[in-house]
């Protein structure tokens, strides 16, 4: 049974595994709101909008995480303003803002010359290079977000389900929307460092989507999404270790595989259940 314990034989890979556990849980929990509120495109936008902030921060010699976060929050605000004042649809505004920012980052990088190499790894993930400090930062961010969401969970749920009734009951819906966006921006920044900006969307969407196929209530959906997120992270680590493939891709493949599995066997909405119900409903042959 050494294949179970082997990955944890080095502190290096153990750190990577713990980082994946934290990020998988974070993505699963927030992912429920991402999926229910139709925010996947926004999350994708954040992962790209980070770029110019990271480039500028690297050029100034500052913290790249902070630069990326500032850029992501600026993107969130920009998207909200653009949607409100330019009369464009939400998705259009998002598309315009984040592609513009990403292009600006690319041009900045070309103009400022090859920078402190940190920028590239920040964007494309450097899971195995995670340090103890990185891990502590991720843990603090995850705990902070968890606490914040716990405090606002009821207004958040109410406004996700029915924003108008929530507003009538006294919830500050617009402020809550912006808070959620900022929390998402922070979560994306922390997660991008581990798995890269191409794949980070999967962490916020796939486990939650799988959980929604199975569960009927928000509390169970969130619990299952967190479990699936963690399972994807740890499973991906095992695949990366034994099959010798890149960790980020392995994590996403495991998450997707779990989704397909859920889709097949979910007792309510799964393909198998639907097929069986159809078979049972067919009249008996004479």
């Amino acid at each position: 049974m050494s294949w179970i314990t082997d990955p944890w034989s080095t502190e290096l890979v153990t750190r990577a595994g713990l980082e994946l556990v934290l990020i998988g849980a974070l993505g699963g929990a927030l992912g429920v709101f991402v999926v229910v509120r139709g925010l996947p495109f926004t999350v994708e936008a954040f992962s790209h909008a980070i770029f110019p902030g990271a480039v500028i921060a690297a050029a100034l010699g500052g913290s790249i995480v902070l630069g990326g976060l500032v850029a992501a929050v600026a993107a969130a605000v920009g998207m909200a303003l653009a949607a409100r004042h330019l009369g464009t649809g939400d998705e259009t505004a998002i598309g315009v803002v984040f592609t513009g920012m990403f292009a600006a980052g690319a041009l900045l990088l070309a103009a400022l010359g090859p920078l402190d190499r940190d920028v590239t790894s920040f964007l494309f993930g450097d899971l195995l290079g995670v340090t103890r400090t990185d891990l502590v930062v991720t843990a603090i961010v995850a705990a902070g977000i968890g606490l914040l969401v716990t405090i606002v969970r009821r207004p958040l749920v109410a406004s996700s389900f029915d924003p108008e009734a929530a507003a009538a009951a006294g919830v500050r819906v617009e402020r809550l929307d912006l808070l959620l966006l900022c929390v998402l921006a922070l979560a994306v920044v922390v997660s991008v460092r581990a798995v890269g900006n191409v794949l980070v969307l999967a962490l916020f969407v796939t486990p939650a989507a799988s959980a929604r196929l199975v569960c009927r209530r928000l509390s169970t959906t969130m619990a299952l999404a967190i479990a699936l997120g963690v399972a994807s992270g740890v499973g991906g680590l095992y695949v990366s270790f034994h099959a010798r493939v890149a960790a980020g891709g392995a994590v996403v493949l495991v998450a997707t595989g779990l989704f397909v599995l859920t889709w097949l066997v979910s007792p309510r909405r799964g393909m198998l259940a639907i097929a069986l119900r159809a078979r049972a409903a067919r009249p008996a042959r004479a």
């Binding site: 990955p7 090859p114 195995l128 990366s240 099959a243």
Partner: protein
């Protein structure tokens, strides 16, 4: 709101104008000063060419320092430069495959020079099927490349043939002197300590020349594109421990986070960054070939002695 729309439109026009202006800025050619226009792909080739051509040539390199040549994307400016060049010096061995569409689009009548003609090659891998391209890290191959460039310049500019030969002779002498110095310094280190780990597999020729063993690489490939897996990294760490490797090197164009983590885990030290794919920035010592080789030498000798 109308005001907002007008502002966006104005900004858009400015952006388009700026983009067009940027496209238009082509190479600074020495055509007016009567010098030979030479375009090279890599920074090493540019340095060789300047040393051989002296002030008879105006050299423009397409790759900037510390830019990874394995996945470089050419710009419209590159196409313009090639179309007005007299000589185009390329590396070969699959390092500048991105040059093909540039040449196709540029037209012009630049004389092509493949600098690595005649260099004995080490085997490649799946990412570099033509062979290991990092030939210049063995100074003897650098000499071959310098001679090839000398021939190419003389063919394009026969009037300068004598000058080119004199320059090349002087430069080759310097390279050979460096080669001897480096060999001596490494010979002084016991063979058992001459084990290193590098970022990607760029130092095959170097290692063969000086009797160093590259025990493993962080990226399991000749190209920088591959990503190491958790399995690769764990195996590398145990190999480092088993072989008693004392130093892990990162590379100048690559983030050292992973190398640092591997060094720490295996008890080795993280050496100074090596230059494996390119020269350093022009205003630094590693901006010339000899400066770069010297920096590599200092880093490696210090690392294996630690």
């Amino acid at each position: 709101m109308i005001a907002g729309r007008r502002l966006i439109a104005a900004a858009g026009l400015v952006a388009v104008a700026a983009a067009l202006a940027a496209c238009g800025s082509g190479s600074t050619s020495g055509a007016d000063s009567g010098r030979l226009d030479v375009v090279t792909t890599t920074t090493q080739l540019a340095d060789f060419t300047r040393n051989v051509g002296g002030n008879r040539v105006a050299v423009r390199q397409l790759l900037k320092p510390n830019v990874d040549p394995h996945d470089y994307e050419p710009t419209p400016g590159d196409v313009a430069a090639v179309s007005s060049a007299d000589v185009l010096v390329e590396h070969g061995i699959g390092l500048d495959t991105w040059l093909e569409p540039v040449v196709d689009n540029a037209g012009g009548d630049a004389l092509p020079v493949v600098a690595t003609t005649g260099v004995p090659l080490l085997g490649g891998d799946s990412s570099e099927p033509d062979g290991d391209p990092h030939v210049w890290l063995d100074p003897r191959n650098a000499v071959t490349m310098v001679r090839n460039i000398e021939k190419g310049l003389a063919a394009a500019d026969p009037d300068g043939a004598a000058a080119y030969r004199a320059n090349a002779d002087r430069y080759v002498a310097r390279i050979e002197a460096f080669d001897r110095e480096l060999a001596a310094r490494i010979d002084a280190v016991p063979a058992a300590k001459r084990k290193i780990v590098t970022d990607h597999d760029a130092f095959g020729y170097f290692a063969k020349r000086y009797g160093i063993t590259v025990v493993g690489t962080v990226i399991p490939s000749l190209s920088t594109a591959a990503e190491p897996s958790a399995g690769d990294v764990t195996r590398l760490v145990s190999t480092i421990r088993r072989e008693g490797v004392r130093v892990v090197f990162s590379e100048s164009s690559v983030d050292p986070r992973l190398q640092r983590a591997i060094a720490k885990e295996s008890g080795a030290t993280l050496g100074a960054p090596l230059y494996g794919d390119s020269l350093g920035p022009a205003d630094q010592p590693a901006g010339t070939y000899l400066g770069m080789m010297r920096a590599n030498m200092d880093a490696i000798v210090a690392g294996i002695n630690s």
